[in-house]
C-alpha cells in the first residue's frame, strides 16, 4: 500500500467521527521505483492531506518531507522528487493501519489493506438524515 492510497483511506467503523488518518504500523516496507511525473504531482498536491503524508512517510522510514508545504514549493524539482518518493515509491507490504479513534487495527498483507468490518462495527444503512450528511461529508470531504 502506498501513501497515495493511505492519504484517501479512512477508518470506516460505525460511530467514528474522524477516522482519518489511519496510523501506520510498519513491519515490512519496500521501495519500488516509479517514473517521475511532475505535472501529475502538481495537480494532486492541493488535494493531499499534507500532515498525513509527512507522518505516514516517517512511519515508513522516510523523514525528508518538510513539516509544512505550500504550492510555491511545487516549482522546486527537488521538492517534487521528495513528494514523488514518499507518495508513490514507498510500499507498506506488511503491517497495520490503526483507527485513530478506536485503536482498531486493519491488517496490511502483501501490500493490501484489509478494511473489512466485523458485524458490530458496520454502519447501519437505516440512518437519520443528520447522520447521512455526516457520512457524506466523510466520504466526499465536502461540507
Amino acid at each position: 500500500m502506498r501513501l497515495f492510497t493511505h492519504n484517501m483511506l479512512s477508518s470506516n467503523i460505525k460511530g467514528v467521527a474522524n477516522g482519518f488518518p489511519l496510523r501506520i504500523e510498519a513491519e515490512q516496507v519496500l521501495e519500488k521505483q516509479v517514473d517521475f511525473n511532475p505535472d501529475f504531482l502538481r495537480n494532486l498536491f492541493p488535494k493531499l492531506e499534507w500532515k498525513a503524508l509527512v507522518d505516514g512517510a516517517r512511519a515508513l522510514g522516510y523523514a525528508e518531507l518538510p513539516e509544512a508545504a505550500d504550492s510555491s514549493m511545487l516549482e522546486s524539482e527537488e521538492f517534487l522528487r521528495k513528494v514523488h518518493h514518499a507518495l508513490l515509491e514507498l510500499h507498506l507490504e506488511e503491517g497495520a493501519l490503526t483507527c485513530p479513534e478506536t485503536g482498531r487495527k486493519f491488517p496490511v498483507n502483501k501490500g493490501i489493506p484489509n478494511m473489512l468490518l466485523h458485524e458490530d462495527e458496520e454502519t447501519s444503512l437505516q440512518l437519520p438524515g443528520s447522520l447521512v450528511s455526516q457520512m457524506l461529508v466523510r466520504i466526499t470531504g465536502k461540507q
Binding site: N12, F40, M115, E122, G141
Partner: protein
C-alpha cells in the same frame, strides 16, 4: 493503445478459479472491458493521466484496462481476498502497477475528491438485492469526473432515475448496449452459455466547486 491490442492483452488475464455465487462473481471479458476503457479515454478523455478506481474489481480486468489506457494511478477495491490475490498476480503478469484495497463497498469511507473516474461491472443485484445501486451510489460520491458502469438493459429506466434523482448525478447516458456472455460457471446455470443485454453507462457526478 489500439483496441485490438488492448483486448488481446486483457485476454491473457486469469479469472476466478472458484467464483462465489453470493458475490455474483462473473469475469468481465476482454471484449467488454476493452471497449469500456477505450471509449472512456477516446470519447471522453476520462482515463489517460487520471486517477481511476475499479469498484468490485474482482480479478482486476477493468483496472488493468485503465492502466493500459494510460491511467496515472489505478485503485482496485474488492471484498474478496481470493479475487484480490488473482488481481495482484494479473497486474504483475502485465507489469502493471495497481493499488488494491480489500473493503465492502458499502463501508468504504474515503477522504477527499482524488479519484477522477470510477469504472465498474457491479453485481446485478440478483443475490443481494440493491447491490448494483449500492455500487452506483458510492461511485457517484467518490468520482469527480465520471462513472462508467454496466447494468442490465432491463433495468435501464430504474438506473437512470436512481442516478439522477437519488445519487446526485448531473447526467446519465447509455453509451451502448452490449451482450455480456455469462459462461456456465455455477451449478444452477442450465444453459451452456447465456447472453445478457447490458447497458454501458456513463454518469457524471454533480459538478463540484473548483472542478
Amino acid at each position: 493503445m489500439k483496441l485490438k491490442q488492448l483486448e488481446s492483452m486483457l485476454g491473457q488475464l486469469q479469472q476466478f478459479s472458484n467464483p462465489k455465487v453470493e458475490l455474483e462473481q462473473y469475469p468481465t471479458g476482454p471484449h467488454i472491458a476493452s471497449r469500456m476503457l477505450y471509449t472512456a479515454e477516446n470519447s471522453f478523455g476520462d482515463v489517460n493521466n487520471k486517477i481511476v478506481a475499479d469498484f468490485g474489481c474482482g480479478c482486476g480486468t477493468l483496472g488493468a484496462a485503465a492502466s493500459l489506457m494510460g491511467a496515472e494511478q489505478v485503485i482496485g477495491i474488492d471484498i474478496d481476498s481470493e479475487s484480490l490475490e488473482i488481481a495482484s498476480l494479473n497486474a504483475e503478469d502485465l507489469e502493471l502497477d495497481i493499488n488494491f484495497i480489500q473493503c465492502d463497498i458499502r463501508n468504504l469511507v474515503w477522504r477527499g475528491s482524488n479519484v477522477d473516474t470510477a469504472v465498474m461491472n457491479p453485481p446485478f443485484g440478483t443475490r443481494t438485492k440493491g447491490a448494483d445501486m449500492d455500487f452506483l451510489s458510492v461511485a457517484l460520491k467518490i468520482a469527480s469526473r465520471a462513472v462508467y458502469s454496466l447494468h442490465k438493459t432491463s433495468t435501464r429506466e430504474h438506473v437512470k432515475r436512481a442516478a439522477l434523482r437519488d445519487f446526485g448525478a448531473s447526467s446519465a447516458e447509455v453509451l451502448c448496449e452490449l451482450r455480456f456472455d455469462v459462461p456456465r460457471l455455477y451449478k444452477f446455470h442450465k444453459k451452456r452459455e447465456m447472453d445478457i443485454a447490458v447497458d454501458l453507462w456513463r454518469f457524471a457526478p454533480k459538478t463540484n466547486q473548483g472542478n
